[in-house]
Symmetry: C2
Subunit: 379 residues, 2 copies
């Protein structure tokens, strides 16, 4: 049996003061249904990816909550795995279709973060980390700063290399109408931005965002559908201290290897990849762990433009602008990555179209790498 994405939609990402979670969900889901040419009554189950609604808003039971809002009286589930919640929701949805239990389902990824005080959001986000780390007062910028330091020491990666990731992703975001940021930035601007957790500066970090994305998954191919060639999850320790290496995410490597085998492709076959650049260093790790570049070689390649739109060699990384440029409403991100790749593989991505894109890879991470989810999409 094969699984297809038959519809996809993403809302504007950003500081959406006048938007409610209900409104965002309606826009994303009804957009995806319209894109699929599907009536709502044909939907058989709803999978919701969300992390923070309980901690920040006091609302859980989001499966039933959004099912009611959307007028879908179907089995509904909330899947949570920190910033990988969206990808995990897609994985469970794919399995539910392969099981024969359902034939057409919707996955909604959604997060509303900017209604809350930044310190509350930072505290809530540490719910993704290990008890040791969060009770010691660590934050995710701090954890990724340690990863960055280790990578700099081991491979000679520089702060300018990391800055180049942000520059590229902001450039891509200027071509994406739904992106949070539409301003190009320079390596100098990144280097001069406020230090958050040395060596990471403000412009190395993905923002706090609101937004939603939805996809329709089906066991039946349709004219504009894209095939899900692999859906794989891997897990590592929550905390950095328990890991063998700080300069790779073992979960990403493990999930990617299995996904390439399942899809029958090699890393060099991937034309466009949405990778989890919650911090600039994370994109460098991802580009290596996913096999696009040898360990230690990704930073230079990214800096030389080999992963920028218009490149003639290699894979375009984060054509949407990524978490850094497009925004990072955590539960939405994993679904938005797939929605972006669907547009790319259909050739509908407008100014940010990756030339002749036929294979896409979505890479969604929870915490500092405890969960990794890989989806490979094919035309």
């Amino acid at each position: 049996m094969h699984i297809y994405v038959t519809g996809a939609a993403t809302t504007k990402f950003g500081e959406l003061w006048s938007a409610s979670p209900r409104g965002l969900a309606r826009q994303a889901v009804f957009g995806a249904l319209k894109d699929a040419g599907l009536e709502a009554k044909r939907v058989q189950a709803l999978f919701v990816g969300n992390m923070l609604s309980g901690m920040l808003g006091g609302q859980e039971h989001l499966g039933a909550f959004f099912a009611e809002e959307l007028g879908l009286t179907v089995p509904a589930f909330k899947i949570e795995g920190a910033c990988a919640s969206g990808g995990l929701a897609v994985h469970n949805a794919v399995n539910s279709l392969l099981s024969g239990q359902y034939e057409t389902v919707v996955v909604l990824g959604i997060e509303k973060m900017t209604d809350h005080k930044p310190e509350d959001v930072a505290t809530a986000l540490m719910g993704a980390g290990s008890e040791d780390e969060r009770l010691a007062g660590a934050t995710f910028p701090g954890l990724y700063a340690m990863i960055a330091r280790a990578h700099m020491q081991q491979f000679g990666t520089t702060e300018e290399d990391m800055a180049a990731v942000a520059v590229k992703n902001h450039y891509h975001a200027t071509l994406n109408p739904n992106a949070q940021f539409h301003a190009e930035i320079t390596v100098e601007a990144v280097m001069k931005s406020s230090k958050i957790a040395d060596p990471l500066k403000l412009l190395d970090c993905s923002p706090i965002s609101d937004g939603a994305a939805a996809i329709v998954l089906s066991t039946k191919r349709s004219p504009h559908s894209v095939e899900v060639a692999a859906s794989v999850v891997a897990t590592d320790t929550l905390g950095l201290a328990q890991r063998k290496s700080l300069t790779q995410l073992a979960a990403t490597k493990q999930a990617a290897q299995k996904a390439y085998t399942l899809a029958g492709i090699l890393p060099e076959d991937v034309d466009a990849s949405e990778v989890h650049d919650c911090f600039t260093i994370a994109e460098i790790l991802a580009a290596e762990d996913l096999g696009f570049f040898a360990k230690g070689n990704a930073a230079a390649a990214i800096r030389k433009g080999k992963t920028t739109l218009g490149t003639s060699t290699g894979v375009v990384l984060n054509p949407s602008g990524g978490l850094k440029g497009c925004g990072h409403p955590v539960g939405a991100t994993g679904v938005k990555q797939i929605a972006e790749l669907v547009e790319q593989l259909r050739g509908n991505a407008g100014k940010r179209q990756v030339h002749d894109a036929r294979v896409g890879l979505a890479h969604n991470v929870g915490g500092s790498g405890a969960t990794a989810v890989i989806h490979i999409l094919k035309t």
Copy 2:
């Protein structure tokens, strides 16, 4: 393909002041693995059912959290659907096996509630309800009290009828070593207990509890395994105000009808059923909505002992003691129900053994009926 429960274990339920979530998880999962005769390294995925860890404890990402604690470096997911989180986790686990993605998985249901202030727990639990209800200050006892009033008005159900449910379930709990309560109670004691939300009194309400339960699910039969003959979820509106009827849970009826068809059985074929008696009136509704009794007839039947252990006619309801007698650690409940039925169908339930039990039905509800999960188990 068929799916089997090959191992099951439940911790003690109750006010477990000296137990940690980590310890409860280890006890339940390693107990289930031992019961299945399975090495941990054979487990291919972990599904965690939990509702409150984020809101009460600040810890999310529980899939990876418990995978690390248990030494399982496998794909891990947290599934949340309020008090139906456990049942929904089992449903997604079953589908993941049917999909061919995994062959052996573990489902852990867990909740640690008594470490927190009761008012904080009550507030957090309303995360299961509709926005209208929770922002208006409703509580679940209040919502079920409205259901009880409607049932009393429509069918002549009495407060003593509801009390009889608690009396039965406390009696069953005295036969269950893991139950929270081991004291028999009387109808008079229930009637004299403090009013919580008229007509519901303290002894009509399930308690705040700590506990965990785990099951091993596999695509392969084993000597002591029990077959999962149906796994079905249905959804209704979150809020009571949007429902056509207050005296039935439409989601329960819909899920049950589909489950009976899938399992190829009738309600009268069920020997033992763990139903979601979060309040005594909820067991009366369940006994009717599951088709064990005609609408309006369950209360009298329960009061006459027709659902009590040792009955010669009909189904035994909540041999474990149910949520009322055994306890209700919300994320654990849906998994514990299945663990109890596995013991019953194996004939290993000791003093609370249902005579010649061959078919079991687990009924897990989220909120005031927005989510219903039915599992039918067969020897």
